[in-house]
Symmetry: C2
Subunit: 87 residues, 2 copies
């Protein structure tokens, strides 16, 4: 994965809801910092494929639709690399 590209995408797109440090500012949104990379890839692909519905999934379906598989790999690697809890 391209960590620099992941950081660029994460900070420009994902951070609005999931936090610059991967800690969400909104309690219904998940923290991503330190999350398992493979899980993040799987979750993003499930949103992109509209396999995840319910809750706030519609928002993530739209966001993930704009990500290529390469983008997904990159942002997953980036958020996984951040310290859990934002510390």
């Amino acid at each position: 994965a391209d960590m620099a590209a992941g950081k660029a995408k994460a900070t420009s797109v994902c951070a609005a809801c999931h936090g610059q440090n991967g800690v969400a500012q909104i309690p219904t949104y998940p923290n991503l910092a330190g999350q398992n990379e493979q899980y993040l890839v799987m979750a993003l692909k499930a949103y992109k494929n509209k396999q995840r519905t319910g809750g706030q999934a519609a928002i993530m379906q739209g966001q993930a639709a704009a990500l290529s598989d390469e983008d997904i790999a990159n942002v997953a690697a980036y958020f996984s690399s951040l310290p859990a809890g934002g510390k």
Copy 2:
């Protein structure tokens, strides 16, 4: 939420995959320690309602089906209370 009941359920049911400390031992599974409580409730209900599919969702559909709404509230509160990253 009943934290003691949440801990009992979490350690007996959820921990096999998500870790006693909320840090998953399996890279395709998410860490839950320190995750936002409201997000965990929403995610568990989405699995229970079979709104989350794809990836490993079938496993969680089955697990969540066995949880009452009270169980969900309790385990969400418990995992959210654990330190992110398991530290």
